[in-house]
């Protein structure tokens, strides 16, 4: 079995690779935010629901976060489509191959997403009626979305490691591989999962700050509670991040430890922003939030550099043929602006109506 990476096909890219890469990284950053709130938020809701059996504050918090989960699913899926589109355009030969090797687990994501999504809706609409059983619904949905995250990590690593493909394909062509065997998969997933707990903790804190206007005691408690998660998970991330770094192939690891100026520089700035956020967030919630969002954005770029490093000798999108479709791209930008304006207008009207109602 000699060459495995499929050739990219004769149709040129409709834009230079750098533009598609920039869109990939930017839309991935947008996707990471609701995705993290969804994965971590599901877990935090389960915990609060269990604690809520004894503590009414946790019960109220769980009710508030559970209502947001279905909306977060919609945001996660919608914002996930764009990066997946650009990924397939740039890295199709790798992505399709690895997906086919794990075809059944990969396709089962659709089923799990459907069940998990309906679970959150059921929970949200029937919270009172479900009573104590509600927590099991959340638990099932949260578990499904976590498994989806794990499968995504697995495929994103499998597409970067074509050396493993041959053995997998020889042992079975029914698409039943999970791809978990690569040593970097567990720490990489855990890195994402712990980050999602941190960001969800932050989300809870922001929710608390908003609630404090109507109910100061409860709101302040929620804010404190959420920040505890944020701080604890971010400290834990230091250990997980080290494990992740240690699990990378040595030549790639070195890039982030001084070997590559850009890679090392990005990592240092990202870590510095995280530390700044940890130090300031108790006092200045907004400043700490912006700072950690900076970390997330840089991590999205670092992740892209990591991918490039993995594929350095195998595949480089910059070498693909390009024939720009300028008019259609311009049309995309135009519709994007109109689309954002339409969404902003609707959300603004919605938020305005909410304030009007509370003030009455």
């Amino acid at each position: 079995m000699i060459p495995l990476i499929p050739h990219p096909g004769p149709i040129p890219l409709p834009a230079p690779a750098w533009l598609l890469e920039a869109l990939l990284v930017f839309t991935l950053f947008l996707h990471l935010l609701p995705m993290s709130l969804l994965m971590g938020g599901g877990t935090l809701t389960v915990i609060s629901e269990f604690l809520g059996r004894r503590d009414d504050r946790h019960r109220r918090l769980a009710q508030a976060t559970a209502r947001l989960l279905p909306v977060l699913v919609a945001f996660t899926i919608t914002l996930g489509i764009a990066p997946l589109l650009f990924l397939q355009v740039l890295y199709g030969p790798l992505f399709f191959s690895s997906s086919i090797l794990m075809a059944w687990p990969w396709l089962s994501i659709i089923g799990m997403m459907l069940i998990g999504y309906y679970g959150y809706y059921w929970h949200s609409f029937q919270f009172e009626r479900l009573g104590q059983r509600a927590v099991w619904v959340t638990l099932a949905s949260a578990a499904l979305f976590t498994i989806i995250g794990l499968l995504f990590t697995s495929n994103m690593v499998l597409m970067l490691t074509p050396a493993r493909w041959g053995t997998l394909y020889r042992t079975g062509r029914s698409g039943l591989h999970l791809g978990f065997a690569e040593p970097t998969v567990p720490p990489r997933f855990l890195h994402m999962f712990v980050a999602s707990l941190a960001l969800s903790g932050l989300g809870v804190a922001i929710l608390g700050a908003a609630k404090a206007r109507a109910d100061t005691a409860f709101g302040l408690w929620v804010r404190r509670y959420g920040l505890r998660w944020f701080v604890a998970a971010t400290w834990l991330q230091l250990a997980v991040g080290l494990w992740f770094l240690a699990s990378l192939p040595p030549s790639i690891r070195l890039l982030f430890l001084g070997g590559g100026t850009i890679e090392t520089g990005l990592l240092i700035v990202a870590l510095a922003l995280a530390v700044i956020s940890l130090l300031t967030i108790q006092r200045w919630l907004a400043f700490g939030t912006v700072s950690i969002l900076g970390t997330v954005a840089l991590m999205a770029i670092i992740r892209h550099r990591l991918r490039a490093a993995y594929l350095a000798s195998e595949f480089d999108p910059a070498k693909l043929a390009v024939q720009p479709q300028i008019a259609v791209f311009a049309l995309f930008m135009l519709f994007l602006v109109c689309g954002i304006a339409a969404i902003a207008w609707m959300v603004w009207k919605f938020a305005l109506a909410a304030t009007a109602r509370t003030e009455k």
Binding site: T78, L85, F96, I110, G339, A342, K349
Partner: protein
């Protein structure tokens, strides 16, 4: 050929996509038409100043959100997922030709989702006027997303001038784009009415029920008038071979095409004389029955639309097995195995010809055939001798117009024939007249093993 093969036992790849796609089409067209249904029903409630109608619309919008936002959105992603797994080469082509169209579609989709949420959660928050505008934004965005996807879908059957110019606009405004857009828009309206009949049929209050059942049934009428004309226009623009396949050329496809027309007629006639004429007698089970007929129409129609595209996945450009036409010459000169990836053999030799045959099956046949299930290979070559299979392989596209030709060297073709013949029990059945006098030599050649089948 370029990509690994996902072997799905029994149902095969096409059916796997089909199962997801048919359910998605049934819901996604409702997602478009249902948006207009909500806005117009809401406006009707305001105009008639009827709070009962408004309550019904609110209930219908919850149903709408649960069906469309969850199942519609997720199953749409599911089609994308499954075509990438089953036909990666074609998916990759569609993505490259239409990257920005997909990106534009994504913008419309995002607006659609956002508007649906604001509409649903905004019932008691927004003033009437704003709420209606949000509903309109939803419908327009949803229809525009259909508009974009329709261009991409129709491209697969009628790529038109793109084949020579490779121009984006020629691909998008292909010969069937407009007739198909009209057909799909009508289907959207009809499905909005069909789903509306389900929710209206569940209303307990008799008077309100009669009113809303009649309202919903009206939504099927435009489709019943326009579909025959639009359908004829559409059929006049598809490739001649595709027309022949659906009109007698392939019995299964012809039967399904007939069923599509017959079931549509049944649906419209029953809707007209049932809920439209006598809304007061309409019942929920009847609504479900109509919905089931609607689902069947969707199923058979989409199946026919896919089937007539054979032997291509992108007409005149790429065969169903993912091999582009332009690759054909090189493959026939240098061999399929040499051009392929993900195979275990690079050339046919004495000691590997069965393995090479198996590789050739994977890269050229397995995207449509399964081993023992749908389009089962073992059944297709049952009782065929190697020489006969070899002959068939030389004339595949002439003997079976909906199959791509075998592409490869003579040695490769013989290897595939040998492997296919090897699927048979080692001695051909006695009932085959051709096989009778050859039975012994073949059995000896294969090692003379008598199997339990004999």
């Amino acid at each position: 050929m370029n990509y690994p093969v996902w072997e799905i036992p029994q149902i095969g790849g096409g059916m796997t996509i089909g199962l997801i796609a048919i359910l998605h089409v049934f819901v996604s067209h409702f997602a478009v038409g249902g948006g207009l249904y909500l806005v117009l029903a809401e406006r009707k409630a305001y105009r008639e100043n009827d709070p009962a109608v408004l309550e019904y619309v609110k209930g219908h919008s919850l149903f709408f959100v649960l069906v469309v936002l969850v199942f519609g959105a997720v199953s749409g992603v599911g089609i994308w997922w499954s075509i990438g797994l089953v036909s990666p080469a074609a998916t990759s082509t569609l993505l490259h030709v239409f990257v920005w169209a997909w990106a534009i579609e994504w913008v419309f989709f995002a607006v659609e989702i956002a508007a649906a949420f604001v509409y649903y959660y905004g019932w008691d928050r927004l003033d009437r006027h704003t709420h209606l505008i949000v509903g309109w934004i939803y419908f327009i965005a949803a229809w525009l997303s259909l508009f974009v996807i329709n261009g991409i879908l129709t491209f697969m059957l009628t790529p038109g001038r793109w084949l020579t110019t490779r121009e984006f606009w020629h691909a998008f405004w292909n010969p069937t784009a407009i007739p198909s857009l009209i057909l799909r828009t009508m289907v959207c309206l009809a499905l909005a009415g069909l789903y509306g009949l389900v929710t209206a049929g569940a209303i307990p209050d008799r008077k309100l029920k009669a009113k809303m059942v009649r309202f919903a049934a009206t939504w099927l009428l435009p489709a019943s008038l326009v579909l025959p004309v639009g359908g004829a226009w559409y059929i006049s623009r598809i490739p001649p071979l595709a027309r022949e396949i659906s009109m007698g050329g392939s019995p299964a496809v012809t039967i399904f095409a007939g069923l599509s027309i017959a079931l549509s007629a049944v649906l419209f006639v029953f809707t007209f004389f049932g809920p439209y004429q006598r809304p007061q007698h309409f019942t929920l089970p009847f609504a479900f029955m109509l919905a089931l007929v609607g689902l069947s129409v969707t199923g058979v129609t989409e199946w026919v639309r896919e089937a007539v595209r054979k032997p291509y996945v992108i007409y005149g450009y790429m065969y169903s097995n993912g091999i582009a036409k332009r690759e054909q010459e090189a493959i026939e000169r240098d061999g399929a195995l040499r051009a392929a990836r993900w195979v275990t053999t690079r050339e046919v030799r004495e000691d590997n010809h069965l393995e090479a045959g198996r590789n050739l099956y994977e890269i050229q046949c397995a995207s449509c055939h399964t081993m023992d299930g749908f389009n089962g290979m073992r059944f297709a070559v049952k009782g065929w001798r190697e020489e006969f299979i070899n002959f068939q392989l030389q004339h595949l596209s002439e003997l079976k117009g909906f199959m791509p030709p075998f592409m490869g060297t003579e040695a490769e073709r013989r290897a595939l024939a040998a492997w296919l013949a090897d699927l048979n029990p080692k001695i051909p059945p006695i009932t085959e007249p051709l096989a009778q006098h050859k039975a012994l030599p073949i059995a000896v050649a294969m090692g003379g093993v008598q199997t339990a089948d004999q």
